[in-house]
């Protein structure tokens, strides 16, 4: 099960955070800082999974940006690792060449893919179906 998904840059600024298990607002910043520190401390040749408290962290780095997913022990790390990439590919597809980092849109995309900590959709066309409808409604 997925506990949270974060997008954090190298400076430790959170760009996106979504929690599937209740974490108090006040504790999130500390957790996120911990998580980034954990990921930054790792070298390129080390594996993309780190233990963090009761969770396993699966992280993937895209330029200066880390996508980090906290999962439970029984989850399949490699499948989550690829899920991250799928997510990034969807973002890439939707925002095409000129990406506007719209927090709300990214959340909508993420909500289509992961619900209550479970992977519910991975088909790119279907993930974006709702947003396409929105676009039509907008115009």
């Amino acid at each position: 099960m997925i506990k949270f998904l974060l997008m954090v840059n190298k400076q430790g600024q959170t760009r996106l955070s979504k929690y599937y298990e209740q974490v108090e607002l006040g504790k999130r910043a500390a957790l996120e800082a911990d998580v980034v520190r954990g990921c930054l401390a790792r070298r390129k040749e080390e594996c993309s999974f780190v233990e963090y408290k009761d969770y396993k962290l699966v992280y993937r780095q895209y330029a200066a940006l880390f996508v980090v997913v906290g999962i439970t022990e029984n989850e399949n790390e490699l499948s989550i690792y690829e899920l991250v990439h799928n997510f990034v590919e969807v973002l890439d597809k939707y925002f095409s060449r000129v990406i506007m980092f719209n927090l709300d849109k990214v959340h909508i995309i993420l909500d289509e893919m992961i619900l209550n900590g479970h992977i519910v959709e991975t088909n790119k066309n279907r993930i974006l179906a709702l947003l396409a409808l929105d676009k039509m409604a907008e115009s």
Partner: protein, 1087 residues
């Protein structure tokens, strides 16, 4: 990765500066995002957000703010909350936005709600009407948004309000709506299983949906259901296998592919479901061998995602009933993983190996050199996983090496969580496999000094319990204690300031209890060492209490030293210490009292505890006579407080007319032996409560595997070594080491590793007694705990429940499916015998009596036609004029069933030629379903084929030779209450039983007020609907009892509370109260 992705992602951090496309983003939001990216310090961030928040506050309260602006404010609020700043003043506006905004505003409103509010937030109630409205909207987007939010956050209590609407969506023409509806129902199932139990059949429909997306969503529900009760879904194995086959075979539309792999996450989900179904079940496993083989074969592409599937596949192969060929392939697969130069794969390989060695320890042997390399790997994660693996293969022969490796790792590790986790494991291994006393004590010393005060409390507790309770032989026990005493004296003579408190506590307890065993050491020396600790500033006051307790125990005869100490402590600021000092002084001066209070060497289990504190009776009655208020237990006091303050929603004030005083004091939670025996310390109460659960982990491994592995062929190919029979002593280390050297490596630099390997993997060979596979035959465990009588009593409610109640074997939480399973688990005998009556009985045209198709087939008296068709030949045709449906068909019941309580006869269906009715008979231990088939015509009907399709016993279809086909429903809900039976007990028995039950549920129900005596009317209504037994009604309270067939009881206590009926239910079964409550609710609602 594609170029485009690379480019866009590199652009991500900088994209905030991008001005293109900014038309959609208003100035304020853009300004905020821009400023956030330019921040350089936390302090700046704080200032910026504070400003932003106050600006937003102003904006939201302004009447001129448009919906569109509000939408932008919401996104800004999301940013602020994401950075950790409270923006709760916007929450209500998020709800308003969802309520009143146009499509796009609504979207952001809903999104903000799901981000800001968690389940149970009171504001969510305000959203219910909006959701209801949107669910009914014809606009696809609105319906989607509503379904999404319902599946994310929705108040549990309001589920009934939306449930019918969500259910309707299951047959919506658009796949996206159906998919979201299934996901919403899954969420409902997770938070309120009672509410959705009636739609299990619809889940099946979703599974068979023509759209793969909808089918995929339903798998979440099934994974959950099957995890809770695999047995109930075995019949669906075929369907899951077929689905997986189609997916693997590439039958899905191409856009489900991810990097040319068909729906990988779906495959993983299916593999998880299959492994749960095939676990410990040979026939079910056989159904999936083929598709697992295919999955292993297909996943050859060199991509991470195929490895992820392979990993899941390997796990499945090792979880289900073993098949040699598949195991070999899976093992090869693991081999490829661990040997891979890709570090992520290596990790996954180790994880798979860790899982697999529980079943087949020999696999670790094949990869021993890799494991050794990983042990010294620079990557912390890899190292950590390797230790986990080693932990699983530890046995009496390799324990010293493995524990040493773990301790080495711990010494350089600085992650608290890892330390706690690993140190616990070291302690567990040490306790289980210690080769000798000195090693054990030394290892535990390491555990205490490394783990320190991070340690879980049960580690020191278990250790002390082990020392205290000992084994069978007193001599051995004393040896161990002596070692401990010696070792601790040495430790205490060195530097003590750095020692963790927990270690000091353990040492002082042991010295207090056992220092006298060491005759060569002057007790005065021990006292001196302990007293020294008291002087240290770093010693906590809790530890001081431990130390003083120890001193009290060994103070005998050393009055001079003790009196000084007591004197100096009697002015301490700590009241507990002062009190202990007092005790110390008294006891050291009165050796008789000392002997009586702290008897030396008394057996631990011989100490009797007067838990009712009867020796205080005199004191209490004196106090009462002097006008003191009688004692009230805490919960009663609290209840009374509540009553004073507000409406009391809690029933039961212990006002049952049963004498409770005797019961309430009995040992439901008697102080445990040790807590009393270590008397004065008073802080070891938990010592024995945590039973030796930690010792059982490996023994729980199911023995699907023979002593010699899983394969007959393997036996043949095993190295022709002189194998000592497994029953005798394990071979010496050397022998084993020689045998398991699989490939002789001539290079000398590897020799160290080889040596390490031989010591690590000793005992895992074919011939040696494999500790993993056969714990029972492993060399006798060093420390075997004595069976502890009071432990069994504390868990007895659990075990007796299991043995007495067949239905509770299924540990599902779903209440009705749980009732239902008990229905099917009934032994077949009853139904067969009932069936035998059929031909003889004088029925109208024929009487088929059944519970389930499976049992139907077992009945030899009928002829079985193909699938599940059974022909019942009516022997006599007596009644030419079929009774009208309402007439008394029950008169036609066989004689021995006539006296059973039964439901009304319900007419199921009829056509011009045939009519069908059914009736339920309640036996104590089973539910009988009687189906009446009546001929409505004048002509004789020769063959009637009854086909019972048992889809959760809901429908029956009838095919008559008359040519017509009927599909009938047996009705659903009343069915599920049919396994409830009255439990006849007296009020007194009820009272006792009540106290012994653990699971309780309270709720207010509707009171039927239309008659003179509401309580009696309501209870009678419940009695009629659910077959409860009303034990007694006293004033405004009533007690009612029932049971599940002949199994678990459930007691109900009802009290009239204004216009409501406060109901409190208790049962030994966790799910039963909920279930009964649900049906009471229904019964009253339908009244």
């Amino acid at each position: 990765m594609s170029d485009v992705v690379e480019k866009t992602l590199t652009a991500l951090p900088g994209l905030f500066d991008s001005q293109t496309g900014a038309a959609k983003i208003t100035n304020r939001l853009r300004q905020l995002i821009k400023s956030i990216t330019e921040l350089t310090s936390k302090h700046e961030e704080e200032n910026l957000i504070k400003q932003e928040l106050s600006a937003m506050k102003e904006q939201v309260s302004s009447p001129n703010t448009t919906m569109k602006q509000m939408r932008e404010i919401m996104v800004r609020a999301m940013y602020c909350e994401m950075l950790g700043y409270d923006a709760s003043f916007t929450y209500i506006h998020a709800i308003k936005l969802a309520q009143q905004g146009g499509l796009l505003e609504k979207r952001v409103g809903y999104l903000a709600v799901s981000l800001f509010l968690n389940e149970g937030h009171e504001l969510l109630l305000l959203l219910v009407n909006t959701v209801l409205k949107d669910l009914q909207s014809t606009n696809l987007i609105e319906a989607c948004m509503a379904l999404t939010v319902v599946a994310q956050v929705f108040p549990k209590d309001m589920i009934p309000a939306v449930l019918p609407l969500v259910e309707d969506k299951l047959s919506h023409p658009k796949e996206i709506i159906r998919r979201k509806a299934v996901l919403a129902l899954y969420k409902f199932y997770l938070i309120a299983p009672n509410q959705v139990q009636h739609i299990h059949a619809k889940f099946r429909k979703a599974l068979c949906d023509k759209d793969p997306g909808v089918m995929t969503s339903s798998l979440h529900i099934y994974l959950q259901l099957i995890r809770e009760s695999p047995d109930s879904y075995k019949d669906m194995t075929g369907s899951f296998v077929t689905i997986l086959k189609q997916v693997v075979g590439g039958k899905l539309p191409l856009d489900f592919n991810y990097h040319s792999v068909p729906a990988p996450w779906l495959q993983i989900q299916l593999l998880r479901i299959l492994s749960l179904l095939g676990k410990e079940d040979q026939s079910t496993s056989e159904l999936m061998y083929e598709v697992l083989d295919e999955s292993l074969r297909r996943a050859e592409m060199n991509h991470n995602i195929t490895y992820a599937i392979l990993y899941e596949c390997v796990k499945a192969v090792y979880t289900i009933h073993p098949k040699a060929e598949l195991l070999e392939k899976a093992a090869r697969c693991i081999g490829n993983f661990v040997l891979s130069p890709k570090i992520n794969l290596k990790y996954l390989g180790l994880k798979a190996l860790t899982y697999v060695v529980q079943h087949d320890a020999k696999l670790a042997l094949q990869h021993q050199m890799t494991i050794i390399e990983c042990l010294d790997h620079s990557d912390f994660t890899i190292k950590r996983e390797t230790l986990e693996l080693l932990f699983r293969i530890t046995n009496a022969q390799n324990v010293t090496v493995i524990v040493e490796k773990m301790l080495d790792f711990l010494r350089i590790c600085n992650d608290e969580h890892t330390i706690i986790h690993l140190v616990g494991k070291v302690a567990e291994l040490a306790e289980k496999f210690a080769p000798d006393n000195s090693w054990f004590i030394q290892t535990m010393n390491d555990v205490f000094s490394i783990g320190g005060d991070l340690l879980q409390q049960d580690v020191p507790n278990n250790f002390l319990r082990l020392l205290a309770e000992g084994s069978e032989s007193k001599e051995e026990d004393d040896q161990l204690r002596l070692y401990a005493v010696d070792s601790y004296l040495t430790v205490l003579k060195g530097h003590t300031s750095h020692l963790p408190q927990c270690f000091l506590q353990v040492m002082s307890w042991v010295l207090g209890e056992y220092a006298h065993l060491q005759e060569s050491v002057d007790q005065r020396e021990v006292i001196r060492l302990l007293t020294q600790l008291l002087d240290q500033r770093s010693v906590s006051s809790e530890t001081r209490v431990w130390i003083l307790s120890a001193l009290t125990k060994i103070s005998e005869g050393q009055t001079d030293l003790i009196l000084d100490l007591a004197e100096s402590l009697s002015s301490s600021q700590d009241t507990v210490l002062r009190q202990q000092a007092q005790e110390l002084r008294h006891l050291s001066q009165d050796s008789q009292l000392h002997e009586w209070a702290l008897p030396r060497g008394a057996p631990w289990d011989g100490i009797e505890v007067d838990s009712s504190l009867s020796f205080l009776d005199g004191f209490v009655s004196e106090a009462l006579a002097a006008g003191a208020a009688p004692y009230k237990p805490p919960h009663q006091r609290q209840e009374e407080l509540c009553e004073d303050r507000a409406l009391n929603l809690e029933p039961y004030g212990f006002s049952l007319p049963v004498s409770l005083s005797s019961c309430s004091i009995t040992d439901r939670q008697s102080p445990t032996l040790l807590s009393v025996s270590s008397g004065l310390s008073g802080n070891s109460t938990e010592l024995s409560q945590k039973a030796g659960s930690s010792t059982l982990i490996l023994e729980g491994v199911k023995r699907v595997w023979g002593k010699d592995g899983y394969l007959p062929q393997k036996e043949a190919t095993a190295p022709p070594v002189d194998e000592p029979s497994a029953a005798v002593q394990p071979p010496s280390q050397q022998e084993a080491a020689e045998r398991i050297e699989p490939r002789p490596d001539p290079s000398t630099q590897n020799q160290d590793k080889q040596q390490l390997a031989s010591s690590l993997f000793v005992g895992l060979g074919v011939g040696s007694s494999m500790s993993l596979l056969g714990k029972s035959e492993a060399p006798p465990l060093r420390f075997r705990k004595k069976p502890r009588p009071h432990e069994s009593s504390s868990s007895s409610s659990g075990t007796s429940e299991r043995s007495s109640d067949s239905s509770s074997r299924s540990s599902r939480n779903t209440t009705d499916s749980f009732l239902y399973s008990s229905l099917l688990e009934e032994e077949p005998a009853a139904s067969i015998s009932a069936f035998d009556h059929t031909p003889k009985s004088t029925t109208a045209n024929g009487l088929a009596q059944n519970k389930d198709t499976k049992e139907d087939r077992r009945a030899n008296t009928s002829q079985i036609l193909g699938g599940d068709m059974v022909i019942v030949r009516p022997s006599t045709i007596q009644d030419k004029h079929p009774p009208s449906v309402s007439s008394d068909l029950t008169a036609l019941l066989p004689a021995d069933l006539k006296d059973l309580p039964h439901s009304d006869v319900i007419s199921l269906t009829s056509d011009p030629s045939l009519s069908l009715s059914s009736c339920r008979l309640f036996r104590d231990e089973a539910l009988l379903l009687v189906i009446f088939i009546s001929n409505c015509t004048e002509t004789v009907i020769k063959d009637v084929a009854v086909q019972l399709t048992c889809e959760e016993l809901k429908t029956v279809s009838l095919r008559g030779s008359v040519g017509s086909v009927h599909s009938l429903s047996l009705g659903h809900c009343p069915q599920q209450t049919s396994s409830v039976r009255p439990l006849v007990v007296t009020t007194e028995e009820y009272g006792k039983l009540w106290l012994s039950l653990s699971h309780d549920v309270k709720q207010n129900l509707k009171l039927l007020t239309d008659a003179g005596d509401p309580l009696r009317t309501t209870l009678n209504a419940l009695k009629d609907a659910l077959q409860l037994h009303v034990v007694d009604i006293i004033g405004s309270e009533g007690i009612v009892a029932c049971r599940l067939l002949s199994g678990a009881p459930c007691l109900l206590h009802c009290r009239v509370n204004g216009t409501a009926l406060a109901m409190w239910l208790r049962s030994p079964h966790p799910a039963l109260p909920d279930c009964i409550l649900y049906h009471c609710q229904r019964a009253l609602a339908h009244h």
